[in-house]
């Protein structure tokens, strides 16, 4: 399917600063599940930015501005052809060794309530795929609150029910559990071609390693393996290493001004 993406976000830098720098991870690469037809990032300083491949194989930009405005606007636009491969990304030449994705991080702590069920489940050969699907379902259940889950920031029950936790929480829970079971798993950011009245948003899911198939995507929020509706942008250990825009200085979170992810004309 051909997907057209337009994404505009703003970043508050604060007034009267001398310089700012950003690490921008907003460039999808062509791979087994997608071909990037067109892509552009527009923001102050992008013309002279350093462009390089980061530790996890992503295309990164180091952008800087001298005496920037207090607010920075970043516009991303492009067209990507996607293929539904049942979530199988496979092996990409130059990928870093999968074993690295067993490394625990602060954001990917395993929850006992998720892993306990799978401690003694076989995890080699075909069993591994089954286990990962089981894990995805369990994550959706626990994080989604289908089962009574602890709200971490002490939100009231009604609030917690009203707003579904963000995709990052599902992805982190899945990754933490997989790693606890000794299965390499990584965090993926990307765009999702939305169906129905879902608002377009930056999305996040996980990929787990299988010795036979390579990397396989799991989207525990949607409870499915990524399809041709998913456009992969960046991978990493967790949400921190894949953050679309990191900036110094920065005041507050980046705000999405507008986003559209649509079937291309």
């Amino acid at each position: 399917m051909q997907i057209a993406i337009r994404h505009k976000l703003s970043l508050a830098l604060g007034q009267g600063i001398a310089r700012s720098v950003q690490h921008v991870l907003l460039t999808p690469l062509t791979g087994p599940t997608q071909t990037v037809r067109e892509w552009s990032i527009d923001m102050p300083g992008i013309g002279k930015a350093a462009s390089f491949i980061d530790a996890f194989g992503n295309r990164a930009h180091l952008v800087s501005q001298t005496r920037p405005e207090g607010e920075l606007t970043i516009s991303v636009a492009g067209i990507v052809d996607t293929i539904d491969r049942n979530g199988v990304v496979g092996r990409v030449p130059g990928d870093i060794p999968p074993a690295l994705y067993r490394r625990p991080t602060a954001l990917t702590k395993a929850a006992g309530s998720i892993t306990s069920k799978f401690r003694s489940t076989p995890k080699t050969g075909q069993d591994r795929i089954a286990l990962l699907h089981g894990l995805m379902a369990r994550v959706a259940e626990v994080v989604g609150g289908g089962e009574q889950s602890q709200s971490q920031d002490g939100q009231s029950q009604s609030q917690a029910q009203a707003a579904k936790p963000p995709a990052a929480d599902y992805a982190h829970a899945f990754i933490g559990a997989a790693r606890a079971l000794d299965i390499p798993a990584r965090y993926v950011t990307g765009y999702l071609y939305a169906e129905g009245d879902e608002p377009a948003a930056l999305h996040a899911w996980a990929e787990a390693w299988d010795g036979g198939l390579g990397w396989i995507g799991f989207d525990p929020l949607l409870l499915l393996c990524p399809t041709d509706r998913h456009v992969r942008v960046a991978v990493g250990l967790d949400a921190v290493t894949t953050m679309p825009v990191r900036s110094i200085p920065v005041v507050g979170e980046p705000q999405v001004l507008s986003m559209s992810v649509e079937a291309a004309q």
Partner: protein, 472 residues
């Protein structure tokens, strides 16, 4: 553990070992009081040379001079050749190891070093994956800690591949000895250490990024005047003619690093950074760091600047990785390690832990991430309460400690209150790796001034000596 430690000056029968013959003769010729006067001269000399600066680091001027012992430690040409070959082998293998674990990780795939020990280690820096540093070198500036227990027995205690300090003392100690005992230098052929700053400069230039016109711009990046090693940072910058910068003096623009000069931005090519990995760049590492330069790591990643040493070198001198160094040497160089490792007990192994807990009184316990002689138990010098305390700590976190037998560190004659007496010493030679591996003949000898003490750290009553490597 032998009953009497090896004395570097005297043979067991009391005769003088060859390298020390001239020194013995010179010492005998000194009138009474001469050594005391020299000692006092040395102190005022250090103040004049500038060491006072490091010493009076605090604003109140309360810190003390690191004591300097006027009797040099002497190493024969033959001993040095053996030692330096072993050190060179180690640093080559460890750099190859760093390249491998930040690329294809063959050594882990081969199962020669446990995968988790490396990949889950906090000293491993995932952001370094796939990065190709100039000439494939990660650790350019190394200080290998060596102890000696016999005529031919040298052990490596620690590899220090991050930002080893103390080299300014090696240089200042030599300067002091040249002024205090010039006549000894006429009788001995002592290999020079004064070339170190120039060699450091050459080393840094040899790893500059490509595409630079003229000679590369070098800087020393310091955390600032409140850092305990600030004196050394400014000393080295001064000696090799590099700019001494703090984080605020540098900035990244369009992917390149610049310093703010009186005439505007000036491009920086190679940074000898004395700031720890975590604080180097708030954009990539700790966001709360005020010491670093935002964007520095990405500029490095983009190939526009060289960091000396590279981030993530700490994984190769991690105390838990230390036991695998002989394995690492064999894997990459196909050679047996020339220098010995100190046998090390692994407390996560039940049998070894049981042995350790039984024999704490004979062993040395070190925290895996500790340094400076803190978080350490020296069994033979410990009290029962201290041993009980460490027993508790080891049981609580067995992976946080490594345990080694107490080595009988060699002794050197040292001038103390009651005259000349043997005191335990260690040795830190300094290695520079760039277009070649260069080991400065000499190094920093640290001496435990307290009788019988094995702790040489300056923070715990240690002093230093000039270290002479003799030429043939």
């Amino acid at each position: 553990m032998s009953a009497t430690p090896f004395d570097e000056m005297h043979n067991a029968d009391g005769s003088i070992r060859e390298p020390y013959l001239i020194l013995e003769d010179w010492l005998k010729g000194q009138p009474p009081q001469a050594l005391s006067y020299m000692s006092a001269d040395a102190e005022s000399l250090f103040r004049r040379l500038g060491i006072t600066f490091a010493v009076y680091g605090s604003n109140e001027g309360t810190e003390k001079l690191i004591p300097f012992d006027i009797i040099p430690r002497i190493i024969s040409a033959l001993e040095w050749r053996k030692l330096s070959r072993g050190i060179e082998q180690r640093v080559r293998a460890l750099n190859a190891f760093l390249y491998d674990i930040y690329h294809r990780q063959e050594i882990l795939k081969a199962g020669r070093v446990p995968e988790k020990l490396i990949l889950n280690n906090s000293a491993f820096c995932p952001q370094m994956m796939g990065l190709d540093p100039a000439r494939g070198i990660y650790s350019h500036i190394i200080g290998t800690d060596i102890v000696r227990t016999g005529p031919d027995d040298f052990y490596v205690l620690e590899d220090n591949l991050r930002t080893p300090s103390g080299v300014s003392y090696m240089l200042e100690n030599r300067e002091a000895m040249l002024q205090l005992a010039p006549e000894l230098f006429q009788r001995y052929k002592v290999a020079p250490v004064e070339t170190y700053p120039e060699t450091l400069r050459r080393t840094m230039e040899s790893v500059a990024p490509g595409g630079i016109h003229g000679s590369p711009n070098l800087v020393v990046l310091t955390p600032g005047i409140h850092n305990s090693a600030y004196f050394e940072h400014s000393f080295l910058a001064d000696q090799m003619g590099a700019m001494l910068c703090e984080g605020q003096d540098l900035f990244v623009e369009n992917g390149k690093v610049y310093m703010r000069t009186t005439t505007g931005p000036e491009r920086v090519d190679v940074i000898y950074r004395r700031i720890d990995d975590d604080f180097l760049d708030p954009l990539t590492f700790r966001p709360d760091s005020m010491l670093g330069v935002p964007g520095l790591f990405d500029a490095y990643r983009a190939g526009n600047v060289t960091l000396v040493n590279a981030p993530g070198t700490g994984i190769a001198d991690d105390k838990a990785v230390y036991v695998y160094v002989p394995e690492i040497i064999e894997f990459y160089l196909g050679e047996k390690a020339l220098l010995k490792n100190v046998p090390t007990y692994n407390c996560t192994n039940d049998d070894e832990r049981a042995y350790v807990l039984e024999h704490l009184g004979e062993l040395v316990v070190k925290e895996v991430h500790g340094s400076g002689g803190y978080g350490m138990l020296v069994g033979p010098a410990s009290t029962k309460a201290q041993r009980e305390e460490f027993k508790r700590r080891i049981l609580a976190r067995p992976d946080n400690y490594i345990v080694q037998p107490t080595l009988a560190l060699s002794t050197c004659p040292t001038f103390v209150e009651k005259g000349i007496a043997p005191r335990h010493v260690d040795l830190r030679p300094y290695v520079l790796v760039g277009d070649d591996v260069r080991i400065t003949p000499g190094g920093l000898t640290r001496v435990a001034l307290k009788r019988g003490s094995l702790v040489v750290n300056s923070s715990q009553g240690g002093g230093t000596k000039d270290t002479w490597v003799l030429e043939d």
